[in-house]
Each structure stands twice: as structure tokens, then as C-alpha cells.
């Protein structure tokens, strides 16, 4: 039930908001109310643990006897991502009131709610075609919002975004059609069973077709052409959703719809690992050189997500909690930075870093929040970002020291650009007149405050995120050590992935054990290296 609500209610809410008409306030209240209810629902989803709906036949796919099912399911990872999309949409609506022109808020909120519905659908779908439907559908409201409420270059940015992502998912559509036509099933489990019977080569081709769509969406170097402009030109609340929730669809897709479905060889994993690391370094360097506040944030997001993708392809057992915590932490911190940068843009009238400054003096509360958000984004210990990046480094170490070192360099780079950003925006001499009419609203400030609080909370108790809350094994009776993090579906199939890797004579180094006796065995392994 909760699953249906999370996917369908946003559309209903969007319709209702579109129908209320009248002044902006009723639309504002209604959209805010529905987003808040959805956020509560997503928290309930997390608390409730794994759940699936009964499959409903949707339509027959032409050219095959497969019937597409409306089938939703939640497990730890996607429940948290749904939480991210809900909470960021709520924040976007809060900030959208002042970020949109007078009287335009209604249409804006309709777009945001529709976008929320498509994102939730993509995260929760267990049917491949259903997933693809939502995956494609989310481009439309995003591009429309971008083209309607963005900056100066909004039209071309939106066009670029739409064409890039839609073209990027074309190979996925073909591969999906091929698989469905051949196997006659559309659910994840069915496709997985079908793919086990295929040769590695076929699987690799299909996986790459899938992967391109996700690499474009995330984005991963060299498929990032649309990203900087799109994030920079979008209205800030939309940028926050794009980076905080929508880009996660790409990472999520890689995790669930590529890694869990296909059995691939080691070359593939190594390539993707290095592609992820290259993205991380590239994003860091570009952010360091950036002059546009939102572009800096865009590249910083790219770098973080590159790190997440690199961690995924280590296939280390630590990877699931690592990626999950990193994604949740990044969603909240990058989201709040984008939202605040939008306010800063309105305060100073520019996005150029060199023309901003001194906001901590003229707007102390804003300055405090921006500084705190920036520092939290630096992955200081005690914040969710640190837990995520530390666990990612641990996962990278399972592959080798060199990837870890590259990951470590990214940490220094992130310090370099983030401090530059903080300094440029809030420190130094003020470049604008003191009597600035733009203020950070109370509600807006409290949203950011809540985000920062959550980041600290997750940093001190990351277990909240990665613990499994499935009802049949209540965690009260299970000692913490035995709680298997991450979802069963992905873990099971990942185990299969690992198995198939071992048959193709590859070894994944997993030198991590707790028992003292196995330390010895490990020691010999590492010493022999």
C-alpha cells in the first residue's frame, strides 16, 4: 500500500494542485502538505523494511508474449533513495516559493510533484519495463522545469539534457526489448534467470547497453556533457533534486539493473572502477577550476558519484553500506548546498564566485548554514560524508592500494575546491550593498538545519542507514553483527556474480576478517603477495 502511495500519490497531488487554481497560496499549501505526507510515508517505508506489492498485469509488450507488470518492491537501498527524493522535493517546494517568479509557483510545484512520482517509480519498480518507463518519464518534467524557470541559457541546457539522456537510454531500450522478447518475462528475477543461460559475451553487450543509460544519468566521465550546464541553468531547487535524487537513479541502476542482473568478467569491472575514479578526479579538478558556483557544485557532485561508482565496482562486501551511506550523505549535503547557492545567487545577483563574498557578515544565519553545509560536504569525521568516504576507501583497498590512493587524492581536491567555494561565497569583503532585500526564510533555514542535523546524526549512527529492518527478523533479537546490510536481492545475485567471476579465474581480494584465527591466514595471503 505504502509503495503504491509513494508512486501514485505524487501524480494525484500534481493533478490536484493543477486543479485548485486561484491564488498561489493554496497551491503552495497543498503541494507542501502532499510532499510532507510523502516524506512521512517514505520514512515509514524505511522503518517497515522489505516489502513488495502483488503484481498487476499492465500491458502486453508488442512482439513478445511478455506481459509488463506493475510490480513495486522496497529494500534498504531504494527505500533510502525514495526518502531522498521525497525530502529533497519537499525542500525544493519550500525554496521554490521564492525561487520562482510571482504566480508561477503552481506550475512549478506540479512539475516537481510529477518528477517526484517518476523518481519514486524508478526507484521502486521491480519490473524492468516499468523501471524503464519511469526512468524515461522523469526526463520530461525535469526538462520542462529547467526550460521554464532556469537561468539565461535554460533552453539550450534543457534541450541538451533531454536529448543527451534520452539518446543515452536508447541502447537500453533495445537491449531490454531483446531480453524481454527472448525470455518472455519482464521482472528482475525472471530476467536474471534468463541471463544465466546466456554467454558472457551476450551479457556484456547487453550490460553495456544498459550501462550507457546509467552512465549518462549519473553522469560518469566521458558522458557528462549535459551535466554542468543543466545543473547550473536549472532553478536551484531543481538542481538540488537533480543532483540529490535523480543522479542517484543512475547509480542505483548500475547497482541493481546492471550488477545484479548480469554476470560479467573482470575486465569490465576494472574498466568501470577506473572510469569511476577518473570521474572522481576529473570532477574534483573541474570543480577546483570552476568560476560558477553552481558549476563547482555540479562537478563536485560528479566527483562524489564517481567515487560511488568506483566503490560499486570493487565488489567488496563493504561496498553496499559504503555506497548507501555515501549516496544518502551526498544527497543531503549537495542538495542543501545547491539550495543555499540559489539563495546566494538571488542575494548577490550573480553566480560568479569572484563577484560574491562577504555574505557571512551581511547575512549571518545564511553564512552559518552555508559554511556548515560546506564543511559537512568536506567529509569531516562525525558526518555522514566521512562514513561514506571512509567505507568507500576501505572497499577500494580490497582492490589495491593504487585506487585507494586516487580516492584519497580526491579527498584533498574536495577540500581545495570546497574551501575555495566557502571563502568565495561567504568570506571576504561584501561586494553587494548591505540593504539586500533577499533573506533566507525561516522555513527555508529550518529545512537546511534539519538536513545538516540528519547528516550529523547519520555520521554518528550510520547504522540507521544500512541496517536491515525487515520485519521477519526483528533487529531487537538479532545482535548488530549479524544484521546483513543491504538488500537480499542484490546480495544474492552479487554472490552469483562473484561466483561467475571466480569461474573465469579472477580473484577478488577480500582480506577482511574479524576472527583472530583468520588473521593468520590473511597474513599469509598478503605476505605472499
Amino acid at each position: 500500500m505504502l509503495l503504491h502511495v509513494l508512486v501514485l500519490a505524487p501524480f494525484v497531488a500534481a493533478l490536484l494542485v493543477a486543479l485548485v487554481g486561484g491564488r498561489g497560496t493554496s497551491a503552495y499549501r497543498l503541494s507542501l502538505f502532499s510532499a510532507a505526507v510523502l516524506t512521512v510515508a517514505s520514512v515509514a517505508l524505511i522503518a517497515g523494511g522489505d516489502a513488495t506489492t502483488t503484481a498487476i498485469d499492465w500491458f502486453k509488450l508488442p512482439g513478445s508474449d511478455a506481459s509488463v507488470k506493475y510490480l513495486l518492491g522496497s529494500y534498504t537501498i531504494n527505500a533510502w533513495l525514495v526518502f531522498l527524493s521525497c525530502v529533497l522535493s519537499l525542500a525544493a517546494l519550500v525554496f521554490g516559493k521564492s525561487a520562482t517568479p510571482e504566480g508561477e509557483f503552481k506550475n512549478f510545484s506540479v512539475g516537481i510533484l510529477a518528477l517526484l512520482g517518476t523518481m519514486n517509480g524508478a526507484f521502486l519498480a521491480l519490473d524492468a519495463v516499468l523501471f524503464f518507463f519511469f526512468f524515461e518519464a522523469m526526463v520530461i518534467p525535469a526538462a520542462l522545469l529547467m526550460a521554464a524557470y532556469g537561468g539565461k541559457e535554460r533552453k539550450s541546457a534543457a534541450m541538451n539534457f533531454a536529448i543527451y539522456t534520452l539518446v543515452g537510454s536508447a541502447p537500453m531500450a533495445i537491449a531490454l526489448w531483446y531480453m524481454v522478447a527472448k525470455s518472455g518475462v519482464t521482472t528482475a528475477e525472471g530476467l536474471f534467470a534468463f541471463l544465466q543461460g546466456q554467454s558472457i559475451e551476450t551479457q556484456t553487450v547487453l550490460a553495456i547497453s544498459f550501462l550507457i543509460a546509467f552512465l549518462v544519468k549519473t553522469p560518469i566521465f566521458p558522458f557528462h556533457g549535459w551535466q554542468a550546464a543543466a545543473y547550473a541553468e536549472s532553478p536551484a531547487p531543481l538542481s538540488a533534486i537533480l543532483t540529490g535524487a535523480m543522479s542517484k537513479v543512475g547509480v542505483y541502476g548500475i547497482l541493481i539493473w546492471v550488477l545484479s542482473l548480469f554476470s560479467l568478467n573482470e575486465t569490465f569491472f576494472t574498466t568501470m572502477l577506473w572510469l569511476g575514479l577518473a570521474t572522481a578526479v576529473y570532477g574534483g579538478l573541474m570543480a577546483w577550476r570552476g568560476t560558477d558556483v553552481k558549476k563547482i557544485l555540479a562537478f563536485s557532485s560528479m566527483g562524489h558519484l564517481g567515487l560511488a561508482v568506483a566503490a560499486i565496482f570493487t565488489l567488496s562486501p563493504k561496498m553496499f553500506p559504503a555506497v548507501l551511506v555515501l549516496l544518502v550523505g551526498h544527497g543531503l549535503s549537495a542538495g542543501s548546498l545547491f539550495l543555499l547557492s540559489g539563495v546566494a545567487e538571488r542575494m548577490t545577483g550573480t553566480r560568479e564566485l569572484s563577484k560574491m563574498g562577504g555574505l557571512v557578515k551581511s547575512k549571518p544565519v545564511f553564512g552559518f548554514l552555508f559554511g556548515a553545509a560546506g564543511i559537512i560536504a568536506l567529509a569531516v569525521p562525525g558526518t555522514a560524508g566521512f562514513i561514506g568516504e571512509f567505507l568507500v576507501m576501505l572497499s577500494l583497498w580490497d582492490v589495491g592500494p593504487l585506487p585507494t590512493l586516487v580516492g584519497a587524492i580526491c579527498l584533498v581536491l574536495s577540500a581545495a575546491y570546497m574551501l575555495r567555494l566557502i571563502q568565495g561565497v561567504i568570506f571576504g569583503k561584501a561586494n553587494q550593498c548591505e540593504e539586500n532585500p533577499v533573506h533566507l526564510g525561516v522555513l527555508e533555514g529550518s529545512v537546511i538545519g534539519a538536513f545538516l542535523f540528519l547528516l550529523l546524526l547519520f555520521g554518528l549512527r550510520p547504522g540507521i542507514i544500512y541496517e536491515n529492518r525487515t520485519p521477519e527478523n526483528p533487529e531487537t533479537s538479532v545482535p548488530a553483527a549479524e544484521v546483513v546490510p543491504a538488500d537480499s536481492l542484490a546480495v544474492d545475485s552479487l554472490a552469483l556474480v562473484n561466483e561467475s567471476m571466480n569461474t573465469t579465474e579472477t580473484t577478488v581480494q577480500t582480506t577482511d576478517s574479524l576472527a583472530k584465527d583468520s588473521v593468520k591466514a590473511n597474513a599469509e595471503v598478503t605476505a605472499n603477495d
Binding site: 557528462h224 577546483w288 566521512f386 571563502q423
Partner: protein, 647 residues
């Protein structure tokens, strides 16, 4: 006897942080800001409470220490970490002087920061710093220590850039943070290396137990390369935090912050955390003679280099900054020859006299309304006698004048260096030479500041005034400490080795394991040689600087926040590394990005071309199109009729 829970100690400054931050944010609306009395009182109260609870807990501490686990932090099956505190003799000493000196300096700051717009904010940062520092020394595992480790780095960043309207301060702060980040990477990678063996080893107790356990000898030998790597990586972390070669350039720039900050963070407490970490991991380091050699050589080079650099500074705070680096070098030398107790002892005495020196310098700067250039000082002895006395006592302590605190600790270091092994005499000679240079540059500082005639303008001379009581009381207490703290371990007096006994349960076994060569030498000889070094240095300084005309500075003498005037080549080396990354970034933007964009436009252009071609095929006549479609239908029908379908 029941004891207080350990988490009380960090809790107090944390409450202080939250309360003061709330006051700071709430008072932004008002014109005047919050009442300084209330804010100052709160700011001093919380560190004081932390100090009191440390004393109470420390008084009742059993010999083997207290360990408390608060809860799980990370638990992902193959990696576990928990929040836990360990209160043993090492953390007791560190905590006592961190909270004690922290309280004193907070009290001093209430005077120093009087009238500043960010009064409450400043004390919120200071409390946050104390919280982080307490967590750093009190934690029972490396991961939690790292929380404090980055936390103090963060507070250092915030406080260096406290006057953030000036971008150069921000740049100094950024530099401090980023250079520290580089060191922190060493820490993180070290932790990961240890966690590769087992995440349990991140706990200090488990690590020591594992390394000391006789049953594990064979295993430890197999793992030695891993441990050596971890040890080296942790040492990189220490060089960042404690400003050793090669990561030392940030500390002189860090003097851009308010002077109490320099005293607290960049002299007494934070920068010594590297030494603390080495002592904490003593069981690990004694197994790694190669790494220890690196430590001692880095310490030696740093001590010598920073002492020389100290000779050339004109900014009073920068002299002290280089002197701090140099003294930290001494501490690392001691740690490098496995004299961990001595290195901690020097940390302890250094905290007193260096804090006193900085606070004294702060009082001088305060008296001169922000003037930091020593060439514009002089004759302050008569104008600010109390400050001068404090500075003189601390000066005698730092150069190692017999009886003062620095004498005892430095003497012990020199002695341990001499007996450390074949390299001993060489190390000893270098350290002694450094001691002479120390006396020279410190003597120069004293002479230029307090003796001779005032060299500033007539106008500013009238405004010179002694500091208020809230500043003088902490200074006097610290100067008393720099006189008497040394007697806790006076090598020449039999039985006066309380300090050594205290630390023995923590580092004693490790030091015994390292095995000192049993060269027996008379401690009196070392004492005499050390005294001679101090006296010679003082004499040289007097001769060189007392009666010479000091050239007045040209142009502005405003404190330079960024870029020390004389930093030898390390800023250059850092500059090269940074430029390399800049080039990389330039390539990423202008070559790689351009190339990707070009490919993108190429594909897009190709698509457009195809579209143009296709639209060129369109005929603009509706009727013609209809006729053509008819032709098409006919053609299809014909094909079907003739061939029976295409397939």
C-alpha cells in the same frame, strides 16, 4: 569509590559550543551583540568544568586506566568501530594540560577579544576545539581519535580565518586545512592498512595486546611490512598535524589567527597531537626501527631548519611559530629514539612556556594596538613589566636555563639522543647546536621587544598600556608553570621522576622492548653542556642585537597573513606540487573537457546533417506528395503481386 563517567569531560565543552553558537546566532540581529560578561563567563565555565572532572577522574584512576565503551559507531560486519574512551596515565596528562591550559587561555581571551564583533562566535569555536582535542586524546581507538584529529584541524581552520573579512586570513586558513588534509590522508590510509589485518586493531588496547602477546610473535613478523607501512602513514599524519618536514608551511601562516588561538592551538595543544599519537602507538613503533630512524631524522631536520628560519623573522608571532616547529622537532627526535615518556614530558613543559610566550606576545601586541613587527617595538620592559617578567621566565625555560622547565625536558631529550645508538653522538651534537640557535633567536626576540628604546611612533607610545587582569592572571600562572613544571621529572635530583613513573604503564614496556644501548654517562655532564649552550646563545644574541641599530621596516608593517617572509624552500616545493595539480586541472578543463565537448558536438552535428538531408527530400507540394504516396502504394502492391511478398 565510584567515579565520574568519562564522557563528562568532552560533554562540557560540547554543551559550551552549542550554547555559545546559539547565543552567537541569536545575537546577530541586535546591534551590540550579546553581553560579553555572560558569554565570557560561560566560555570559561565549560572548559573549567572539564578540567575539574578530569582532575576528579584522574585522582581516582586505577593504574591500568579506565576504559568505557559508549556504543557502536560503524558495524558493517567486516569492519567495526565503536565510540569508546580510554583514560590512562597518558591521556590523563594530556587532558590535564589541555583542559587546564585551555581554561587559562579562554580566560585570557575574554580580555584579548574584548569588543570584537564575533565575541560569542570565537568562544564557540574555542569550546568546539577543546571538545575535539579532548576526544582526540581520550578516545580508545584510532577512528575516534581521527574524529578529534580532523575536528581540531577544522577548528584551527575556523580560528585562523576568524577575521574572515580579510581574504588573506581565509587563504592562510585554507592552506592550514588543506596541508593538514594531506597529512590526514596518511592517517586514513594508515587506519585502512591496519584494518586490512583486522578492524579490531584500530583499538589502542587491542593493538597493544596483539603486538605484545608472545603467542603472536611469528604472526607479527609476517605482518611487519604491513605494520611498517601503517606506521609510516601514521607518521605522515603526524607531520601534517605537528608541522614537521615536509608539511610544515601552514603553521607560520596560521599566525593570522587571534593570538590566544596561536597559543592554545598552534603551540600548546593541537600541534602536539602528533607526538601524542606516536606515544599512543609506541607498541607499534618500537617494532619498526626503520620508521623510527625516519622519525628521528625528520625531527632533527625540522628542529634545526625551523630554528634557523626563526632567526630571520621580524613578526613576533612568526618567531614563536618557528620556535614551536623547532621544539616539536625535539619531541619527534625523542619519540624517534623510543623515549616516548621524555617526548610527552617535553610536550608538557613546552605547553607551559610556549603558551606563556604566546600570551605574552599577545599582551605586547594588545598593548601596541595590533603591531606585530618587532622592529617597531623595543623598551617594553618598562612599559609592561608584568608581561616582560612572564616572557623572561618563559624565555629562560625555552632556552633551557638551569632550573626552568625546559631545561629538564630538553636535557632528558639530549641525554636519550646520546645513548640511543651508533648515531647518538651525531644526533646529540646537532640537537645541541639547535639549542644554541634557539637561544639566539629567542634572545633576539627578547632584546628587540623588551630592551633598548621604543622604535614606534610618538603617537602610539602614549597608548601603550599593561594588559587587563583577565589576561595577566593566566600569564602569571603559566609562567609559574614554566618555572616549576620541570620538577616533575628532574633528572638530576634522585626521586624526582613522578612523570616517568606515571607514564610507565603505558609506554614503559614498549621503551624497554626497543632496548637502549647501556652507555653510562654522567647526567651532570649533559646538564653542564646544555647550560653552556643556553648561555652562549644568549650571549651571542645580546652581542648581535642589543646595541645595533635596527633598520626600520620599509612600507607597511601590517602582519602578513599569507606567505611567511622567510620560509626557505618548503613553500616553493608545495607551490610546485600545487602547480602540478593546477596544470592537471587546466588540462582537464581545456584539453579533456574540450575534447569531450567536441565529440559531443560532432555527434550532434552529424545528427543535424542527417536531418537536413532528410528534410531536403521533402517536396513542398501537398498534391505531389499524395501522388507520390499513391505511386508507393502501387509499387508495394506490384511487389506483393509479382514476388509474393518481400520475404
Amino acid at each position: 569509590m565510584t567515579n565520574l563517567p568519562l564522557w563528562l569531560i568532552p560533554l562540557f565543552p560540547l554543551i559550551g559550543t552549542v550554547v555559545l553558537a546559539a547565543i552567537s546566532l541569536a545575537s546577530t540581529g541586535s546591534k551590540k551583540g550579546a553581553s560579553e560578561g555572560i558569554v565570557g563567563g560561560l566560555a570559561v565555565l565549560f572548559p573549567l568544568l572539564a578540567f575539574v572532572s578530569t582532575v576528579v577522574i584522574g585522582w581516582n584512576m586505577p593504574t591500568q586506566g579506565v576504559q568505557e565503551t559508549l556504543g557502536t559507531w560503524i558495524d558493517i560486519g567486516s569492519f567495526k568501530a565503536s565510540f569508546g574512551f580510554l583514560f590512562d596515565s597518558l591521556s590523563r596528562i594530556m587532558l590535564l594540560f589541555v583542559t587546564g591550559i585551555g581554561t587559562l587561555i579562554t580566560l585570557y581571551s575574554t580580555g584579548y577579544m574584548h569588543g570584537d564583533r564575533g565575541f560569542a562566535r570565537f568562544f564557540a569555536y574555542i569550546n568546539l576545539f577543546l571538545f575535539s582535542m579532548i576526544v582526540l586524546v581520550l578516545s580508545d581507538s584510532l577512528l575516534l581519535t581521527f574524529l578529534g584529529w580532523e575536528g581540531v584541524g577544522l577548528c584551527s581552520y575556523l580560528l585562523i580565518g576568524f577575521w574572515n573579512a580579510d581574504v588573506s586570513n581565509c587563504k592562510a586558513a585554507n592552506k592550514a586545512f588543506i596541508v593538514n588534509r594531506v597529512g590526514d590522508l596518511g592517517f586514513i590510509l594508515g587506519m585502512i592498512t591496519l584494518a586490512m589485518v583486522s578492524s579490531d586493531l584500530l583499538s589502542y588496547r587491542e593493538l597493544s595486546a596483539f603486538l605484545r602477546d608472545a603467542a603472536n610473535v611469528e604472526l607479527v613478523n609476517i605482518l611487519l611490512p604491513i605494520f611498517a607501512m601503517a606506521g609510516l602513514l601514521f607518521f605522515i599524519g603526524c607531520t601534517g598535524k605537528s608541522a614537521q618536514i615536509p608539511l610544515l608551511t601552514w603553521l607560520p601562516d596560521a599566525m593570522a589567527g587571534p593570538t590566544p588561538v596561536s597559543a592554545l592551538i598552534h603551540a600548546a595543544t593541537m600541534v602536539t597531537s602528533g607526538v601524542y599519537l606516536l606515544a599512543r602507538l609506541s607498541d607499534l613503533y618500537v617494532l619498526l626501527p626503520g620508521v623510527m630512524t625516519v622519525v628521528v631524522l625528520i625531527g632533527l631536520l625540522t628542529a634545526f631548519w625551523a630554528a634557523v628560519a626563526g632567526l630571520f623573522q621580524n613578526d613576533i608571532k612568526k618567531v614563536l611559530a618557528y620556535s614551536t616547529i623547532s621544539q616539536l622537532g625535539y619531541m619527534f627526535m625523542a619519540a624517534g629514539v623510543a623515549a616516548f615518556d621524555v617526548s610527552i614530558f617535553h610536550v608538557f613543559t613546552h605547553a607551559f612556556f610556549k603558551a606563556a610566550l604566546f600570551l605574552g606576545a599577545g599582551a605586547v601586541i594588545h598593548a601596541l594596538a595590533g603591531e606585530q613587527d618587532m622592529r617597531k617595538m623595543g623598551g617594553m620592559l618598562k612599559k609592561t613589566p608584568v608581561t616582560a617578567c612572564v616572557m623572561i621566565f618563559a624565555f629562560l625555560a625555552i632556552i633551557g636555563f638551569p632550573g626552568f622547565a625546559g631545561f629538564w625536558s630538553k636535557d632528558l631529550i639530549l641525554e636519550r639522543l646520546y645513548v640511543s645508538g651508533p648515531m647518538g653522538p651525531f644526533l646529540y651534537m646537532m640537537a645541541l647546536l639547535t639549542a644554541v640557535i634557539t637561544a639566539i633567536y629567542m634572545g633576539r626576540l627578547m632584546v628587540l621587544t623588551f630592551f633598548g628604546k621604543y622604535r614606534g611612533g610618538e603617537e602610539s607610545e602614549k597608548h601603550i598600556h599593561e594588559a587587563p587582569a583577565s589576561m595577566l592572571i593566566p600569564m602569571v600562572i603559566l609562567s609559574l608553570g614554566s618555572i616549576f613544571a620541570g620538577f616533575l621529572w628532574a633528572g638530576l635530583i634522585p626521586g624526582a621522576n613522578l612523570f616517568e613513573q606515571t607514564l610507565a604503564p603505558v609506554v614503559g614496556q614498549a621503551q624497554a622492548a626497543f632496548g637502549h644501548a647501556s652507555v653510562h654517562v654522567s647526567p651532570w655532564l649533559f646538564a653542564v653542556l646544555g647550560t653552556i649552550a643556553a648561555v652562549v646563545g644568549m650571549a651571542v644574541a645580546w652581542k648581535l642585537f642589543a646595541n645595533r641599530r635596527i633598520p626600520l621596516p620599509k612600507g607597511s608593517s601590517a602582519p602578513e597573513g599569507f606567505g611567511a617572509t622567510w620560509t626557505f624552500c618548503f613553500d616553493k616545493i608545495h607551490g610546485i606540487v600545487i602547480s602540478a595539480f593546477r596544470v592537471l586541472a587546466w588540462v582537464a578543463e581545456n584539453v579533456v573537457n574540450r575534447f569531450v565537448m567536441m565529440l559531443q558536438w560532432l555527434v550532434g552535428g552529424l545528427g543535424e546533417l542527417l536531418g537536413d538531408f532528410a528534410s531536403g527530400l521533402q517536396v513542398a507540394k501537398v498534391r505531389l506528395q499524395m501522388a507520390l504516396s499513391l505511386v508507393g502504394v502501387i509499387a508495394l502492391v506490384l511487389i506483393v503481386l509479382v514476388y509474393g511478398g518481400l520475404l
